[in-house]
């Protein structure tokens, strides 16, 4: 059983919907909240959350952005070739806003560290929360924790968690691949 399904399409949909309700529980009509997806894969989740939130509460107050972290990564020159940048789209001020950073998988915490660094180049938000679909707990290399988690997964280095999206791969699914472990 090299590849194990962690979330089926149905469970995936329920999980995203639950995350939306948790956001509404904490932030009401989302006034003053900015939902910001991390490039490249966090934006898939952020876009899904945005459309679900609009379906549930209208979401006219919801401010949405996408953030590229390439130039803030700490593994520049540790890789065989430089990471290619994606698009950053933040056409609003962060001053005083409540930011919810969105990524698909939380693993070592290094991408989120870079994301915080990149985010603060746009101003000083009043607070920043973290929402992830999958939290690979017990594998952190930095003291970073998520505020909203779709599913916790206990995994070891060498295993690979893959989040697939119906927009890109044809179906919503999360899998754990142990073949290389």
């Amino acid at each position: 059983m090299a590849v194990q399904t962690l979330l089926t399409s149905v469970a995936f949909g329920l999980t995203v919907e639950r995350l939306c309700h948790q956001l509404i529980e904490d932030h009401g009509d989302l006034a003053g909240v900015a939902l910001i997806g991390l490039q490249p894969r966090g934006v898939m989740l952020a876009r899904r959350l945005r459309s679900e939130l609009r379906r549930i509460i209208g979401g006219e107050h919801l401010v949405y952005g996408e953030l590229d972290i390439t130039f803030h990564r700490d593994d520049f020159r540790h890789r065989s070739s430089p990471a290619a940048p994606s698009i950053t789209q933040l056409d609003f001020s962060l001053e005083g806003r409540r930011v919810v950073l969105v990524d698909d998988v939380l693993y070592t915490g290094r991408s989120i560290r870079a994301g915080l660094d990149a985010l603060l180049a746009f101003g000083r938000p009043s607070d920043v929360q973290l929402l992830v679909l999958i939290d690979r707990r017990f594998s952190r290399e930095l003291p970073i924790q998520a505020d909203y988690v779709g599913k916790w997964v206990d995994s070891i280095a060498g295993q690979r968690v893959t989040v697939e999206w119906r927009e890109q791969e044809g179906a919503d699914r999360v899998t754990l691949d142990s073949s290389a472990a």
Binding site: H72, R77, H78, S81, P82, S111, A118, T162
Partner: protein
């Protein structure tokens, strides 16, 4: 985390000239520059990518905008920067180029950005010192970052470079910008025509596969983009005008003023590598026209230089 595996790297360790770059290298530089262009329009225009890299700017020839553009690019990448100008330095005391550079490298410098009056100085240096070299202009030979930012500015304005008709006007003979531009535009699939007085046109320039049209009005009707090169007064010899009778005559025959621009009858994009001799190559009305992208070229210069430094630094082993 995924999606990053598809990244590429440059095929070269130094940027000595456009001659060393492939079209794919240039496309990679442009895509990376897109990212940096967004960065330099942020409230905080700085990223930490090159914080462990030290860069020396060696300018053996005077330059304001290129040096400032490189220095801004370096600082916005968080590199440590040392500046070195030839006047008042050990060069005037008789030290050789290699000794000068090796003395600087002994202070643990990773990259050297060099402008030098002699063609080939950057290539020579790259063979004799242990540092990554970026050519910021070597005599009348090449000025690769200028050509990259020019092509990038055309790509930004017109959405493509391939198939675009680019006219380069003026002092081709003394221009490193002209040679680098011809090479880069041809590699990217653009057509190039040159215009200017015969005395400022190198004799064998057609061997590069470019057209030459001495009638500026005809040439302007052909082109989509007109790059008006600066008359290099400092390179014309003794009194500054050895290759043409007077600046006034040059301006009448090869300067672009409002009347001549209106006669073209279409929206030709105006470029100039700076610094402008207003009233010689272009009049103020044309330089400040809506179709002029002269200031976009300056902004893009910082993004392009950030991209070049970033991609070259990525190839320095830790």
């Amino acid at each position: 985390m995924s999606g990053l595996e598809h990244s590429e790297q440059l095929s070269t360790e130094h940027l000595l000239g456009i001659g060393d770059l492939s079209a794919a290298d240039m496309e990679l530089i442009f895509r990376t520059a897109d990212g940096f262009k967004e960065v330099i329009n942020r409230p905080i225009k700085k990223v930490p990518s090159l914080r462990d890299i030290t860069i020396a700017n060696l300018f053996f020839e005077s330059s304001t905008r290129t040096r400032v553009s490189f220095e801004l690019a370096e600082r916005r990448l968080s590199a440590d920067v040392v500046n070195f100008a030839a006047s008042g330095s050990s060069v005037s005391k008789g030290e050789t180029l290699v000794d000068t550079v090796n003395n600087i490298l002994a202070m643990k410098v990773d990259m050297v950005v060099m402008r030098h009056p002699d063609p080939g100085a950057a290539v020579f240096l790259s063979r004799h010192v242990q540092a990554r070299i970026v050519n910021a202009g070597d005599g009348t030979h090449e000025h690769p970052t200028q050509a990259l930012l020019d092509a990038y500015s055309i790509r930004e304005k017109l959405g493509r470079v391939k198939g675009v008709k680019v006219l380069i006007v003026g002092d081709i003979l003394h221009s490193r910008v002209a040679l680098s531009n011809i090479l880069s535009l041809q590699k990217l699939g653009a057509e190039v025509m040159l215009s200017g007085p015969a005395t400022l046109m190198p004799r064998s320039i057609r061997s590069l596969g470019v057209q030459v049209e001495h009638d500026l009005d005809k040439a302007l009707r052909w082109c989509d983009v007109a790059n008006m090169l600066r008359i290099q007064l400092e390179r014309q010899g003794g009194d500054g005008i050895a290759n043409f009778p007077s600046l006034r005559e040059y301006a009448m025959l090869y300067g672009l003023d409002r009347e001549r621009y209106q006669r073209i009858g279409k929206d030709v994009v105006i470029m100039h590598p700076g610094p402008i001799n207003r009233g010689v190559e272009v009049t103020s009305e044309v330089a400040d026209h809506a179709n002029s992208i002269i200031l976009d070229q300056v902004e893009n210069g910082v993004a392009i230089r950030m991209a070049v430094l970033y991609l070259l630094a990525a190839r320095i082993p830790r």
